[in-house]
Amino acid sequence: MKKPKFKVDKHTLTPKHAKLSEKEKTQLLERYHVTSKELPKILKTDAALREMDAKPGDVVKITRKSPTAGESVFYRVITDV
């Protein structure tokens, strides 16, 4: 596929993606009593991660606009294909 000229994360449909630091990641997993395997996944080839320096195993924090809560936070772990 051709690489788009525009920034994917600025599209109105794409929410903000941000990588969590190691420390934030362990805090998150502790808070929800889960292992990183149990988090929802995002492919490392995902279009929204193209500009991000992220490797499999990292956790991405996604800040969505929500019609009910105003803003809602979602976490996904990066996986290989």
């Binding site: 596929m1 051709k2 788009p4 000229k5 525009f6 994917v8 600025k10 599209h11 109105t12 449909l13 794409t14 929410p15 993606h17 929802p40 996944k41 995002i42 492919l43 995902d46 279009a47 929204a48 991660l49 996604i62 969505r64 929500s66 019609p67 009910t68 809560a69 105003g70 803003e71 809602s72 979602f74 996904r76 996986t79």
Partner: protein, 385 residues
């Protein structure tokens, strides 16, 4: 005062915080505000979904019931010239099944400033024609095979060509790019194609003739129709047929608002989160079009479920259901024998963690009051004695 509200920012959703900020009377004392916030927080805690609530079941019912009242037909767009839209139940099924080939793919192309205002109607028309796909068969009047020397001859419709602003050389360029191994001669009103390979048969020539018909001369592949529409003071191009990746490359297009109804294209171009948002938007649109009302929370749950694995999966036996960890749960959905045989072959274990398996073996299901279980704390050696 602001500080007291800020303290609750991590505990309460943004909407509630904003409402308090906007509506709290000016001279409210700190203690009173704290009391208000505490009450709100208590109310909020009570309003949340309880652990063990069967949210999926409620979502299924809430979407399924209005589904019975939806149209089963595909209609023409009321008022808009000849554009088909899938709506009602067929569209809902299409989205939830996660189909890749839609019945009526459509795009909404937003434009950058000079085009969107509609002051230059001519340019807008020109742009729309740029986007629409023109194939060779649309600009040729006759397409024949010369059996004697196995050449393909095609007569060009000059009038049509002038209309969409292409010249002979552009046509030749397009053909030679998309159909390899042919030399093309330009006879002004017609073109002659001759195969370069020596072992040319009639069959080959026939195949090439069929292929050359569908060569894209101009525009973006897959866009069958274009229609500029005015929408709240702004011109938008609605298309039938969809090709998000290529349309977003265009200079004149506002790439940050342009969308398509093809969820897989969105996933490819904008990522899984955008796909999730599109699923929510598309389902909401269909339901609202039918004059029905379903809480977004149900739709968001379905969209989340379809997107947890990182790619869009339909609610089918190949999609979401195949991800279930329990053999019995998978078998209970569709094609039970296949699942049970496969599980037996590899020696799968079912831990009876979820609902369906437990119904099958006649045990309480782990939802609602069936969820909590008792644990006994091992008695510690008492120090008192």
């Amino acid at each position: 005062m602001a500080d007291t509200i800020s303290e609750y920012e991590s505990k309460l959703p943004l909407h509630i915080i904003k409402e308090v900020r906007d509506n709290a009377p000016k001279g409210l004392s700190d203690a009173k505000l704290r009391k208000v916030m505490e009450t709100i927080y208590e109310e909020y805690k009570g309003a949340r979904v309880h652990p063990g609530e069967a949210v999926g079941l409620i979502a299924a019912e809430s979407i399924g019931e209005p589904g019975t009242q939806m149209t089963l037909n595909t209609f023409h767009f009321a008022g808009v010239a000849e554009m088909n839209v899938t709506l009602g139940l067929p569209r809902i099924i299409e989205i939830l099944d996660g189909r890749k080939d839609l019945e009526n793919p459509m795009m909404e192309i937003y434009l950058k400033k000079p085009y969107a205002t509609g002051k230059k109607i001519e340019e807008l028309r020109h742009l729309a024609l740029q986007i629409k796909e023109t194939r060779l068969k649309d600009i040729s009047t006759e397409l024949t095979i010369n059996i004697a020397d196995l050449t393909i001859e095609l007569k060009l419709n000059k009038e049509k060509m002038r209309e969409i602003d292409v010249t002979n050389s552009k046509v030749i360029d397009a053909i030679s790019k998309q159909l390899k191994g042919y030399t093309i001669r330009d006879n002004k009103d017609s073109l002659t194609l001759k195969s370069r390979s020596k072992e040319d048969t009639f069959n080959e020539a026939y195949k090439a003739k069929e292929k050359v018909k569908d060569v894209t001369i101009k525009g973006i592949k897959g866009i069958r129709q274009v229609l500029p529409v005015k929408r709240d003071e702004e011109f938008v191009i609605i298309t039938s047929g969809s090709n998000l990746a290529d349309v977003l490359q265009l200079e004149e297009v506002d790439a940050y608002r342009t969308t398509t109804n093809n969820i897989f294209e969105i996933e490819q171009v904008l990522g899984i989160e955008a796909a999730r948002q599109t699923i929510v938007n598309e389902i909401t649109k269909v339901i609202e079009d039918q004059g029905l009302n379903v809480d977004v929370r149900h739709i968001m749950l379905v969209a989340d479920t379809m997107c947890v694995s990182g790619t869009v999966k339909g609610i089918t036996r190949y999609g979401v259901v195949s991800e279930k960890s329990s053999v019995l749960a998978r078998a209970s959905f569709e094609t039970p024998i296949k699942h049970i045989i496969n599980a037996a072959l590899v020696g799968e274990v079912d831990n009876l963690d979820s609902v369906v398996e437990n119904v099958m073996v006649n045990q309480p299901v782990p939802i609602g009051t069936g969820l909590p279980s008792l644990a006994v704390k091992a008695p510690q050696k008492s120090k008192e004695k």
